[in-house]
């Protein structure tokens, strides 16, 4: 039996996940990375992206907004603004948000202040659908 890691995912509103896991994959600022037990202390910031973890073969994934990821002594703490478990994602809403963001982006140029906001919204919607799609296929 391999060692386990403890994973906590916190948002300003609640604790989304608090569990023991075997391995975790997340999207860091510099790209996707995976972490297994015994990892060296590591701190990175996360982009809008997907985080998935496995425990005893069962896997789960979440859609994350901005956040950061810390591991120390096999304790992982993820601080994010929002985290959505795949089952809780409303695909219809994500699709609508995607459409809205695309529409808005067509009208805007990269110089506009709003451009960044909608780009982020677009990314979030894509990730949401991606994460939700996975759970639907399962």
């Amino acid at each position: 039996m391999a060692e386990k890691m403890k994973l906590e995912i916190l948002t300003p509103y609640n604790k989304v996940v608090d569990t023991e896991i075997d391995e975790v994959t997340a999207t860091g600022k510099l790209g996707e990375f995976g972490v297994l037990p015994g990892h060296a202390p590591f701190l990175t910031s996360l982009r809008i992206g997907e985080l998935s973890y496995k425990n005893n073969g069962a896997s789960a994934s979440l859609a994350l907004n901005w956040g950061y990821f810390e591991i120390k002594d096999d304790r992982i703490v993820v601080l994010v603004e929002t985290a959505e478990v795949s089952d809780a994602i409303d695909i219809e809403r994500a699709r609508a948000a995607l459409g809205r963001a695309e529409e808005a982006l067509k009208k805007l140029t990269p110089e506009d202040k709003q451009h960044k906001i909608y780009e982020a919204a677009l990314q979030r919607a894509i990730i949401r659908m991606q994460v939700a799609g996975k759970s639907a296929r399962k």
């Binding site: 300003p12 701190l43 950061y68 810390e70 703490v77 601080l79």
Partner: protein
Amino acid sequence: MASLKSIKKRIVSVKNTRQITKAMKMVSAAKLRRAQENVVAARPYAKKLGEVLQSLSLNQEGDLHPLLEKRDARKLLLVVVTSDRGLCGGFNSNLCKAGDRYIKENAGSYEQISVMTVGRKGNEFFRSRYSIYRNYANVLAKPNYQTAAVIAQEIIDGFVAGEYDQVELLYNSFRTVMSQDITFQPLLPVVPEGKGVEDETPVEFIYEPSVDELLAEILPKNIEVQIFKSMLESVAGEHGARMTAMDSASKNASEMIGKLTLQYNRARQAAITTELMEIISGSESIKG
């Protein structure tokens, strides 16, 4: 002595008031529980973020981040978090008075002191006295993180642009249902908490991207979280204060009703006695 009718009228009106205060107390009690849960839920996030910030700022290399820079404090911004609505006892007025006192005491050491208010009540108090930098009202009914982020961004922008050199946050922190603490909290520049824990060997983290880049991201987040937290605490405190205030108001109303009822009964008795006297003396005179 007041007439029977007018006393009756007063009893009815006090009863109505009591009904309202009772209802408000119930509403506050329910909202308080939710607000309290929110405060508790936000704590681990805020605590962790503070820890990370600390470990980052200790390992900092390269240039000082602008938000950490200590400048000659000549211009002060006071951010006051109050409630939007009244009827909560001394909740807002105590806080505003404390802010007022603080400004008067420190007026000499700053060139300029401006106030940013969150919540309508604080704005009403400060707007006639000092220059209001910016006001956010009606954001507290449902405090959310986005609002806190907007406020934080505005504060950070102003700080970086040099519109003020120091930012203090003033709010009611939630201690118990009955009591709130008036809290002054320095917000900017960020002073990483003491390096007191010497015996704990610092863990050598791998940072990705660099420490400075991480710090640049986490510092503004920290401001957001602190503002968010102060909003949550203030809301919880507000409901606690309103609950207490409405409870004592209901008690006072009950007492008042008791007194009035006594008065009413006395007046009624007096009226009956007079009537009887009249009847008796009437019949006596007929008998002759």
